[in-house]
């Protein structure tokens, strides 16, 4: 806990992942929706091949805070619940693990959307 070396690794890997995103934006002119979708898919693939766990042990939040972590949790949930409850688990597992984040994003978006109004861009 509160290990400075860990924070250094989190900063380096997290920064690197974001820099790769920026390189993609510059070279391919991808929109932010496409960036989010590709990184999410990348996370699913990492988890499917079992490569996500070792990276997370090394870099902690540096890989789980980027949307890659969201994709990996989805895949992990579907695989784990599939092992326990079979076919039903494949369908229920993915969304179960990301339910917290998803609900928080929808709730916060709705509440703040109601309270605040969009500012006209200058």
């Amino acid at each position: 806990m509160f290990d400075p070396i860990m924070y250094l690794k989190v900063f380096a890997i997290g920064g690197l992942v974001c820099m790769i995103g920026q390189i993609l934006i510059i070279t391919t002119k991808m929109t932010s929706a496409r960036i989010l979708v590709s990184f999410l898919l990348f996370g699913v693939v990492l988890e499917a091949f079992g490569w996500f766990e070792p990276i997370r042990d090394f870099a902690g939040a540096g890989i789980s805070v980027p949307i890659i972590g969201f994709g990996a949790s989805l895949a992990r949930g579907a695989i784990d619940a599939g092992n326990v409850t079979g076919l039903l688990g494949v369908f229920t597992g993915g969304l179960t693990t990301v339910a917290g984040g998803l609900a928080a994003a929808i709730f916060a978006g709705y509440v703040f959307g109601l309270i605040f109004s969009s500012r006209t861009k200058k």
Binding site: M1, F2, V10, A12, G14, G15, L16, V17, C18, M19, G21, Q22, I23, I25, I26, S32, A33, I35, L36, V37, L40, V44, A48, A61, G62, S64, V65, P66, I67, G71, L74, A75, G77, A78, I79, G82, N83, V90, F91, G93, G94, L95, V98, G100, G101, A104, A105, I106, A108, G109, Y110, F112, G113, L114, I115, F116, S117, S118, R119, K121
Partner: protein, 148 residues
């Protein structure tokens, strides 16, 4: 002037009017802002584990994500997130904050088109594809693991 030529000229015009981002500084901006956001996530996780010693690491990282999501939605609502985003580019899009922003931003933007078909429907204009991709891909991966 045929249509093709006109399109080409229009593209060139759009290109000339687009705000230019210098590639090298923007890479650096994305790096340090993105790295910092991940460190904030790690810090929230560590604080949770410190304050609640019986909390599992899994729960703590879940809380960290939820906290980042709510903070990002709030910063979007008060208009600060867009300014950080203009500076950091992918540094704010790639972390989970970008996902939160992609929900909160259209929610604010389309509120004037009504509550149901404005705010609630348009919320998912970017997050929708993300959720669809994630769910479909995770079910496919789960099926593959189930049968091999």
């Amino acid at each position: 002037m045929n249509e093709n030529e006109r399109n080409l000229r229009y593209n060139a015009y759009v290109e000339s009017k687009m705000p230019k981002t210098k590639p090298w500084p923007s890479l650096f901006h994305a790096f340090w802002v993105g790295g910092l956001i991940c460190c904030v996530g790690e810090l929230i996780k560590d604080l949770c584990l410190y304050i609640f010693p019986y909390m599992s690491t899994q729960e703590a990282s879940n809380w960290a994500l939820i906290a980042l999501i709510i903070i990002a939605a709030f910063l979007t609502a008060i208009g600060i997130f867009d300014r950080i985003g203009a500076y950091a580019g992918a540094g704010t899009i790639v972390p989970i904050t970008g996902f939160s922003n992609s929900i909160a931003s259209p929610a604010l933007e389309f509120k004037r088109e009504g509550l149901v078909f404005g705010l609630m429907a348009k919320m998912f204009i970017i997050a929708g594809p993300v959720i669809v991709t994630g769910v479909v891909a995770s079910v496919i991966v789960g099926l593959v693991y189930l049968f091999i």
